[in-house]
Structure formats: C-alpha cells, structure tokens
C-alpha cells in the first residue's frame, strides 16, 4: 500500500471518526432535547389540564354558588323570573359541570397517555399517582355533581333546608376536590422534578457518551497519526540522517529500501545515488592513488636514472683513468716481459747445469745405497756368526751346568759315602770349581757376545737407516730432477707466453686509443641524459603535488 493511500486512508478514518463522533453527539443532544421537550410539554400540558380542571371546577362552584344565591334570593319559586334565573344558573352549572367533567376526562386521558409514554419509573409512578388522584377527583366530582344536582333539585323543589343542608357538604366536597387537584398538582411537581432529573440524567449520559466517543476518536486518531508518522516520518528521518552522513563524506551508509512503497523506492533511489557516488569516489581515489604511485615510480626512476647517469659519468671518468693506466702499464708490461724473457733464458741455462748436478747426485746416492746394502749383508753374516758363537756358548754353558750338577751329585755321593768318599769329594769339588769357572767364562763370553750383538744390531739399524735415507735421498733427487725438467719446460712456455704478451700489449695500445675516443662520446651523452633526467624529475614533482591534492580531496569521502 502506498504512502499516499495510507495517508488518505488515515485521513478518511479520522474524518469518519469525527463524523461519527459528531453524529453521535448530535444524536445524544437530540435525545436530550426530545426528552426535555417531552417532559416539559407533558408537564405543561398536565399543568394546563389541571388548571383547566381547577378553573372549570371553580367555575362550577361559582355557578353553584350563584345558583344558590339566586335561589336564596328567591327561595320560593313563585315568580317565574326567579325560577328562570335559577334554572339558567343551574343550566350554566350543568354546562360548566359537563365542561369540568370533560376537562377532567381530558386530563385523565392525557395523564394516562403520559403514563403510557413515560420511560422513567419515577415519572411513571408520578403519572400513575396523578391518574389515581384524578380518578379520585373524578369520583369526587361525580359526587359533587350528584349532590349539587340534588341540591338543585331541592332548589327546584324550593327545599331550602335541603339546600342549606347540602351546602356544607358541597363545600367539603369541593374542598376535597380541590385537595385532590392540589395533590395532583403536587404530584405533578414531583413528576416535573423527576422529569428534570431524567433530563439531567439523559444529558449526563449523553455527555459521558460523547466524551467517551471523543476519547476513542482521539485515541484512534493518535494511533493513525502514529502509524502514518511511523510509515512516513521514520523513513524520512532515516533518509535525512543518511543524507547528512553523505553530506559529511561518509559514503558507506545505506538507506532503508526494503518497503514496497514510495519511501522504499525513494530509499532505493537514494542508495543507488550513494552507490554511484561511492563508486565515483572510489574510482577517483583509486585513480589518484595509482597516479600517486606512478608519480612516485617516475620520480624514483628519474632519480635512479640520475644516479645511474652520475655513476655512469663517474665510471666513465674512472674508466678513462683506468685506460690511461692500462696504457702506461702496457708499456711497462712489454718492457718487463722483455726482461723476463732474458732472465728466463738465463734460468734455462742454470737449470740445465742444475739438472746435471742432480743427476750426479742421484748416481752418488745409488752408490751409497749399494754400499749400504753390502754393509748390511756383511753385518748380517757377522750376526749369524755371532749367533753361532752364542749357540756354542750355550752348549758350553750347558756343559758347565751339567758339570756343576755332576759335581754336586758327586759331592752328595761322597757325603753319603762318608770317610770312603773323602778323596772322591775332593775330585767332586775340583769338578765343581772347573764347572763354575767354565760357567763364569761362558757368562763373560755371553756378556761379550751380548755387547757384540747389541753393537751389530745398532750397526744394522744405522745401516738400514742410512740405506733408507739414501733411498729417500734418491727419491728426492729424482723428484728434483723431474721438477727441474718441468721448470725448464715451464720456463720455456713462459718465455713463449711473454713473447705473446708483448705482441698483445702492442695491439692493446691501439685499442686503448679507440676506447678513449668512445669514452669521450659516452661522457657527452651522459651529460645530456643527466640534464633530461633533471627536467623529468621536476615534472614528476609537480605531478606528485597534484596527485597529493587530489588524494586529499578523495580522502574526504569515506567509502
């Protein structure tokens, strides 16, 4: 449902409520009016009727009195005029009595009608009481009419005492009738008061109803207003807040657009607008950032290029200096190479003589080795001989030991033989002495042999060592020989190389001159490049400033 329709509906409902309220109020007012009118009209009618009855009855009483007076003026009815007056008065009274009866009947009828129409119980009760009183009055009136007619009959008959006797009665009856009528009037007053109360009651009810209806209508109107406000003002407030946020640069807000009415469509439209703004701001920022980055890169590149150009110039300077040095050193190299060639040739001669000497040394070493081996062989044979001597000594020692044991055994036997073995004991003792001497001698020989053996071992060790050293020396000699030969070959190679170096150096000099010319060209080009780079850097700086300003502007929007 659209907002306009809702608002229209709201207004329509409000109007209906107001109309309803007005109608209800009018209806209540009408009821009050009707009630009041009825009550007043009926009461007035009742008052009039009772007045009419009272007046009629007064007229009736008056006419009776007139008639009575007329009678009493002419109590005997001898004359015709007097009789005619009395009859006329009686006729008048009769007409008045009929009128009174008629009025009373009308009053009774009206009151009965009022009673039937009465809604209020008090009023009804009052009407019924009045009707009852009127009924009593009617009875009283009939009685009065009857008595009066009797009195009139007496009058016609000229019965003065009867007439006189009827008068107090008639007066009392008339008083009674008046009382009844007054009672009816008093009751009518009560009824009037009841009617006033009724009217006030109806008015109060109507007032309360109207008030209640007014409150309901106000509440309903308030609810409607609140609903409409919620439907309309709430989203509008939200939109207002969104637009405020957008105004300060916050593009990240979003308006409510879920509803399917004008407000929802307005929200969707607002969102699209903010979206587009956000996109534009984002693109702008992105572009500005890219521009910033590119500017930074350009500046960096320009600076790098400037630094490179500086380096290039410095390198060119250095290269020129180096080339110059190379040129000088090339000449030096050439000179030195010539010197080296001369000394190499001298070295070759020296190495040849050295080689000869080494070869001589090798041969001498070989001879030493051979002699050493011969010495070793002699020593080995000597050792073998010594060993043989040792074996001999061992056997001699063995013999001496056996001799010793033999002597011991002999001594033991001699001791066992006692006196008979005394001379044998001498022999045994001599044998023991000889055996001990032999043992001592063999011990000495063994000791000497030991020394000889140790000396031989030492000689063998020394000879072996000498042979080993001779072999090692020969090895080294051969190594030295090979090294010297290698050196000689190397020197020859070096001589050839140096000759090549000299030739190359001469060619190098030519090339260096060309290089110098090229360096000069490079230097000029580098200077031009440096000046161009400076201009580029200046332009990049300006561009950077511009991009920074743009970025500051783009930063105002929060995406």
């Amino acid at each position: 449902m659209s907002i306009s329709l809702r608002i229209l509906l709201g207004f329509a409902l409000t109007i209906l409520l107001m109309v309803g309220l007005g109608g209800f109020a009018l209806q209540q007012i009408g009821a009050v009016r009707d009630t009041t009118n009825n009550i007043v009209s009926r009461d007035i009618a009742a008052y009039r009727l009772t007045d009419a009855v009272t007046n009629a009855q007064d007229g009736m009483s008056t006419l009776r009195l007139v008639a009575t007076n007329s009678f009493f003026r002419h109590p005997d009815r001898t004359t015709g005029q007097a009789a005619d007056d009395t009859d006329a008065r009686i006729s008048d009274w009769e007409r008045q009595a009929a009128l009174t009866a008629t009025r009373l009947a009308e009053a009774r009828e009206a009151i009965t009608t009022f009673a039937n129409l009465a809604h209020d119980p008090a009023r009804l009760q009052a009407w019924n009481a009045i009707a009852s009183t009127m009924e009593g009055a009617d009875v009283q009136l009939r009685q009065m009419r009857a008595d009066t007619e009797a009195s009139f009959a007496a009058m016609r008959a000229g019965n003065v005492p009867a007439v006189l006797a009827a008068d107090p009665r008639l007066s009392a009856e008339r008083a009674g009738f008046d009382r009844l009528i007054q009672q009816a009037v008093a009751t009518l007053d009560t009824g009037v008061q009841a009617g006033q109360r009724r009217a006030q009651e109806v008015y109060r009810q109507g007032w309360v109803s109207i008030l209640l209806a007014l409150l309901i209508a106000v509440a309903a109107a308030a609810i409607l207003t609140w609903l409409i406000r919620r439907t309309v003002s709430g989203p509008l407030d939200a939109f207002s807040a969104v637009i405020d946020r957008v105004g300060v640069g916050d593009l990240s807000v979003r308006a409510p657009d879920a509803a399917r009415h004008e407000i929802g469509r307005l929200g969707a439209t607002l969102n699209r607008m903010v979206e587009n703004l956000r996109e534009i701001a984002g693109q702008s920022r992105e572009a500005t950032e890219n521009l910033n980055v590119s500017v930074a890169e350009i500046r960096a590149q320009a600076q790098q290029q400037a630094a490179g150009v500086e380096q290039q110039l410095a390198a060119v300077q250095e290269t020129a200096a180096t080339v110059d040095e190379i040129a000088h050193s090339g000449a030096q190299i050439s000179r030195r190479a010539q010197e080296v060639i001369a000394s190499a040739q001298a070295t070759t001669l020296a190495s040849a003589s050295g080689l000869h000497a080494v070869q001589e040394t090798g041969r001498a070493m070989e001879q030493i080795q051979v002699q050493g081996e011969a010495v070793a062989a002699n020593i080995v044979s000597l050792s073998e001989k010594t060993q043989a001597i040792g074996e001999i000594v061992t056997s001699v020692n063995d013999i001496s030991e056996r001799s010793h044991l033999l002597a011991l055994n002999a001594a033991i036997e001699a001791a066992s033989a006692g006196e008979h073995g005394r001379s044998f004991a001498v022999v045994a003792t001599e044998m023991k002495v000889l055996a001990d001497q032999a043992k001592d001698a063999t011990a000495q020989v063994r000791s000497i042999l030991g020394d000889i053996q140790r000396g031989i071992n030492t000689s063998v060790m020394l000879t072996e060592e000498a042979v080993k050293r001779g072999a090692a020396g020969r090895e080294r000699t051969e190594t030295a020989e090979a090294t010297i030969e290698e050196m000689a070959a190397g020197i020859q190679d070096a001589v050839e190389t140096f000759q090549q170096i000299v030739a190359s150096t001469n060619q190098q000099q030519l090339g260096i001159e060309q290089v110098m010319a090229a360096l000069q060209n490079i230097r000029q080009a580098s200077q031009q490049t440096a000046s161009g780079t400076r201009q580029l850097d200046g332009a990049a700086l300006g561009l950077g400033e511009l991009s920074r300003r743009l970025l500051a502007v783009a930063e105002r929007f929060r995406i």
């Binding site: 044991l405 055994n409 001791a415």
Partner: protein, 188 residues
C-alpha cells in the same frame, strides 16, 4: 720341630729371622773363630728366595728340571705336584718344595733343578730354584725352629739363614699328598 707356614705365624717367623740375623751380625768382628761351631755340610738349595738345608743322605741326585704334567691331580696335590718323569727305570713325581712345605704360591715353577729324594716309594723329586751346593752351616741359635746359618758366599761375613728340613717332616708332607704315581708295576 715343625715349620710354621700359616699366615699369622709367618710374620712371627720373619721377626725371629731378623732377630737371629741381627744377633749374628752383632757377633761379627768379636774375635770369635769364624769356623767354630760348624755343623756337617748340608745341601743348601734356594726356592722362592728362602734357603733350605737338606741332609745329603736324603738326596739321591740333582738334575735339571724335566717332567711331563699330569692332566688330573687330586685337590690336595694341585699346585704342588708339577708332573712326572722317569729316571733309572722309575717314575718320579716332581713336587714344588715351597708348596709342599706350605709356603704359598711360587710364581715361577719353570726351570730350576730337581732334587731326587732317596728312599722308599713313592719316588719323589723336589723342585727348587737353584742349588748352592754342600755348604758348611753354623747354628743360628734358634734350633727350635730349625734355623741354621749358612755361609753362602766366599766372604766370611756373607751369611744367610737357612732352614733345616727334617726328613720325617718331609716324608709327612709328602705322605699327606695322595694318589702319587708309583713305579711299582707289579699290578700293571
């Protein structure tokens, strides 16, 4: 006269030996006849650093050590009996003198000389480290323990103490070893 060779008695024995040696040394140069109090020559041998003196009549011969070790010996003979050998058609058992007399373990039982004992079966030889020979001995004054002074060198002052071994004591010690091979081949 018994030879004390249990551990506690050995200490007392050593003390007595030193005392006797001191007495002998103290008597040197006192003008006494160095040859006075000499006993009949005894065969003096050395084993495990100790000198023992045997009567020549107990020894039949002296030879170099040669024996064949036996694979199984009785527990009492283990360590004492070194093996067997033949001599003159008879089987001799070779015993270690030091172990036989209860002198503890002799580290080196190789080499040395054998003293073939004279007497009845079983035929026994004693191994000693060396035999000094028939030497004149002098009583060292402690004959209770069989201590005799023996002149072991050429110098009159060079004396060492030697134990005199009683033949019965020796036989008892040999008899305490059972299962000694016998050269009796009557039942073979």
């Amino acid at each position: 006269m018994t030879l004390p060779f249990d551990a506690a008695a050995q200490d007392a024995f050593r003390a007595r030996v030193l005392d006797a040696r001191t007495t002998v040394l103290a008597q040197r140069g006192l003008g006494a006849d160095p040859d006075a109090g000499l006993l009949p020559p005894r065969l003096v041998c050395e084993t495990n650093g100790t000198l023992h003196a045997l009567e020549p009549a107990t020894v039949e011969a002296v030879q170099r050590v040669r024996c064949y070790p036996l694979p199984l010996v009785s527990p009492s003979a283990h360590g004492t009996m070194l093996g067997v050998f033949s001599h003159g058609g008879r089987i001799y058992s070779l015993l270690e003198l030091a172990r036989l007399l209860g002198g503890g373990d002799h580290g080196n039982t190789a080499g040395g000389v054998m003293l073939l004992l004279r007497g009845e079966a079983p035929d026994v030889a004693l191994r000693v480290d060396r035999v000094l020979g028939l030497l004149q001995l002098r009583d060292a004054g402690d004959s209770r323990h069989g201590l005799l002074a023996a002149r072991t060198g050429t110098d009159a002052e060079d004396r060492r103490l030697a134990f005199l071994i009683d033949p019965p004591v020796l036989r008892d010690a040999i008899s305490s070893l059972d299962q000694l091979p016998s050269s009796d081949t009557s039942g073979a």
